[in-house]
Symmetry: C2
Subunit: 98 residues, 2 copies
């Protein structure tokens, strides 16, 4: 096993935010902005829509640096999106017993 302690086997929830980069057109956000303007909410200046990815995995995998490579590899498109690992926190639910 590639784990050193009970703590490393602890399940954690990693929260990743994936956003369309500044200056890149965001059609989904534009559509929502248009809906708001059509409703008369003309004070709304901008809407941007991205993704939140929540991954449940053991602490030792979260600490391995793999998540960054998953983000740049397939969770985000680095050409048009940026990503941010917002938090890594203990999972609230107990691990499922095999």
């Amino acid at each position: 096993m590639n784990r050193n302690s009970e703590q490393n086997a602890q399940m954690v929830k990693v929260i990743i935010l994936v956003r369309v980069r500044e200056g890149i057109l965001d059609p989904q956000g534009q559509a929502v902005l248009q809906v708001l303007h059509d409703m008369g909410e003309n004070e709304v200046r901008e809407v941007r829509i991205g993704k939140i990815v929540e991954i449940l995995l053991p602490q030792w995998v979260a600490s391995s640096g793999k998540i960054e490579s998953w983000c740049s590899g397939f969770l985000a498109n680095p050409l048009v999106e940026s990503f941010e690992i917002q938090s890594v926190e203990p999972a609230s639910r107990p691990p499922v017993s095999a």
Copy 2:
């Protein structure tokens, strides 16, 4: 005008997280989980994918309670999604002059 002060006219960025509810199937998350398992990352237990919505608007609109109604009305589908207003913070960029 419906604003009382310079502070109310200040632009703020509201960040809203929209998640697929617990117990509701999340096909996009399932697809990413399958990719990870195909890569041999069998320790990954679960992946859920939601939306992050960032709205730039004046403080007085953000304080009006409208955002909650936009969330339940069209930003999230209350049957299958939950929403959370994560933060309301001063916008970093200066307002565009007309």
